[in-house]
């Protein structure tokens, strides 16, 4: 048939993938391998040589600053993951399941996406006049006579970093969850209702399990971005909260390439473990 005659002509299209493979190999795979390699280099004050040594690795694990950054990163990641999920899920539930009209749910999703048209750094910076001692939140709370003294822990603390990151990343939770919820066959829910199941039971037995792939995709998005963060923590904590990303930036700034590389390798390992765990929970290829 026509397929047989056409096939030879289509054969030629395999080379089209080559430029993409080459680009990704050169500018993503090789750089990451470089990080692993350089982490074993010998670092002197202003220089670096390729003599292999474990010095930087030992230094990382013997210093409280560096191991502290590792735990801070893990802690902030877990907290932000929890807050984005808690903040995002109800919104996704409304947009994906409760809103009957397709137009309204699209409009709501677009409203969620619009803030992304502002530069990321400006979005981070926008929290400063919001949270500061003379910031909008304190002014409003004082005007409402809820508090008499401005709350000072709002800005330049770990809390401000968590608030900022939750706002910036929660939309990445809403999107995938709302998408999965929207695909649920309404007849299943109707059937469960007809059989006398209450909303709580329907939610835990049907809605939540079916939305789980969306939760995992959202969690992967949020994790990847939070783990690689350094701008939000730098700008909103007044450099008090140091994540692995912040360590890399400062080390590169002072030309300590070996230390930056060690931190980079550790970040890569953490990231790999996190993604592996998430992909264990849900087999994405099967679900999508």
């Amino acid at each position: 048939m026509s397929d047989a005659t056409v096939a030879p002509k289509r054969q030629g299209s395999s080379w089209l993938i080559l430029p993409g493979i080459i680009w990704m190999a050169l500018f993503m795979v090789v750089p990451i391998l470089m990080i692993c390699y350089v982490s074993f280099w010998t670092q002197t004050t202003f220089n670096i040589s390729s003599t292999p040594t474990l010095a930087s690795w030992k230094q990382f694990f013997s210093s409280d600053t560096y191991t502290g950054a590792l735990w801070t990163t893990v802690r902030i990641w877990l907290i932000v993951l929890a807050t984005t999920f808690a903040i995002g899920y109800p919104t996704a539930l409304f947009v994906g399941l409760f809103v009957k009209s397709k137009t309204l749910s699209t409009v709501l999703l677009v409203i969620c996406v619009i803030p992304f048209w502002t530069s990321f750094l400006i979005r981070v910076l926008a929290w400063r006049p919001m949270l500061g001692k003379e910031g909008a939140i304190n002014i409003i709370l004082m005007k409402m006579h809820i508090i008499s003294q401005p709350i000072e822990v709002l800005l330049f603390t770990e809390l401000s970093v968590i608030i900022g990151m939750s706002q910036i990343y929660c939309v990445f939770m809403v999107g995938p969850i709302a998408f999965m919820l929207g695909r649920i066959d309404r007849n299943i829910i109707e059937a469960a209702r007809d059989l006398g199941a209450g909303f709580g039971r329907i939610f835990w037995k049907i809605i939540f399990p079916l939305s789980l792939p969306g939760v995992v995709v959202g969690a992967i998005f949020v994790s990847v971005m939070v783990l690689g963060e350094f701008a939000t923590s730098g700008a909103l904590s007044g450099r008090k909260v140091n994540l692995l990303g912040n360590i890399i930036v400062t080390q590169v700034g002072s030309l300590k390439w070996a230390m930056a590389s060690v931190t980079g390798v550790i970040l890569t390992v953490v990231m790999g473990m996190v993604i592996a765990v998430f992909l264990r929970i849900v087999d994405l290829k099967q679900e999508l």
Binding site: I17, G20, P31, M34, T91, C112, W117, T118, S119, F230
Partner: protein
Amino acid sequence: MESRVLKPILAVYVAAFILFLYGPFFVLGILSFQQGPDGGPQFPIIEWSLYWYKQIFGLTPPSRIAPLPVGEALIRSLVLAFMTMVTSTVLGVMSAQAFRRKFRGSTVVFYLIVLGMMVPGVLTGLGTSLLANNVIGITRHWYTTAFATHVAYTYPFAFLVMLAILNRFDGSVEEAAWSLGVNPWTTFRKVTFPLIFPGVLSAMLFAFTLSLDEFPRSLFAAGGTEDQTLPLAIYGTFSVEIHPNIFAFGVLTTLFSFALLSVYGVLMGLSVRRARKLAMQEDIA
């Protein structure tokens, strides 16, 4: 039924959620009209003025607050975003085209490409600068190393968009062209490309905006101050005291983004309308 109780509660919640998303922008927008040059980046508003907007365009007399170094940075960012957009869209269309046939190792290649959007910019940026700085020994520039990392980041997005479009693509039109003896390149140009053009537009939009706002990759992979892109210029103000000029600039860039989005919307509308027109002509014929 519970949903009658739950739905209004959730609706109120979503309203609060949207307030949470937009709150900082309102505050930022309001404070951008702070009096200058003495007004600080906080409440209360001493007097409403356009001072900080004028300052960005260099229309105010010099004061102790230096204007944002955005002029050249903006041009660099736009050129870089344009280069990135063209390269990653071309790569994306080529790869997605290749993926229409199953080939050996396609799963591995798929993950290799998608990894580009998953690996944090800190890591690719660091790796690329190590490679350039310590191994090859070349100077880093926004149009070389930073460009390479930007493409490695935006190309996966372009690829996925094109993959989604080509998955729904009806190959029989191409086969018709081939069986009439049209060569593959002309077929692509005259048949395939016009049909996938809306997808190409989306891929371009993705690549352009992602590159324009890309910050960690540029931070490591671009060189010194003469290589500053727009996000780097903004980041530079983080370390020193901030002034309302950065807020005014935020408002302006947001407006610029909307302008860009409108252009995309108009182009998209035109191409959809053209497609519909063609379909109608076919029906008549």
